[in-house]
Symmetry: C2
Amino acid sequence: MMDNQLDLIFAALADPTRREILAMLLEDDMAVTDVAAPFAMSLAAISKHLGILAQAGLIARERRGRVIWCKLEPDSLRAAFVWMQGFGQITLMDLEAFELFLDSADPQD
Amino acid sequence: MMDNQLDLIFAALADPTRREILAMLLEDDMAVTDVAAPFAMSLAAISKHLGILAQAGLIARERRGRVIWCKLEPDSLRAAFVWMQGFGQITLMDLEAFELFLDSADPQD
DNA sequence: TTGTTATTCAACCAAATGGTTGACGATCCC
DNA sequence: GGGATCGTCAACCATTTGGTTGAATAACAA
């Protein structure tokens, strides 16, 4: 996949589980076990997802004692964000799009 | 992959060939054959890429005679764009990010 | 009609992805 | 030390992805 940063970022964002993890981390930093809790899949699977997010630079992980804390690293989203801005026709804060977003990306709560 | 629109859009954007196609179409509408020309891969492969972009709603294809014209459909990027805006820390037009973008996504010209 | 150009379809292939389970390494607590 | 907890690693599996080639379809041109 040529593995430039943009590839990694978009690929990471293409999975709904990973987007939901990002949304959770947006609220607060979390331990891996707590990230995994709401998902119907193994801890190992979540650990892999976190690895993919980390490699894309979207999150950082830091061990503190037994617990590994995950936190959002939103700077890395900028590259992708700016790439999209190239498509000039996009008007920011388009309300229609925002509704589409709420509709389709709606997290569990 | 659960196939909601956001999945399709981000997955479509995760491939450098497809991003380059989008960048080309940003300049002007193009026939499939002309889209394929600069790439070192078969026409069939490009046709598949165009199919993926179309399914994500990022482009539209319209047959006119023998030729199928591809054109950008930038509205569909909005959903993804807005999703990213959720990560509030992102400041628009961050120059550092823009340079990163130029660096890593640099199209042919 | 016959041929040429434009594009897709179908079958195939290797590699990547997203999941599983079970073993392992670290850390804390007693 | 011994045991529980936190997280990753390794091996495996099914499915998807990104490419190939060759045949099929569609539209024009002679």
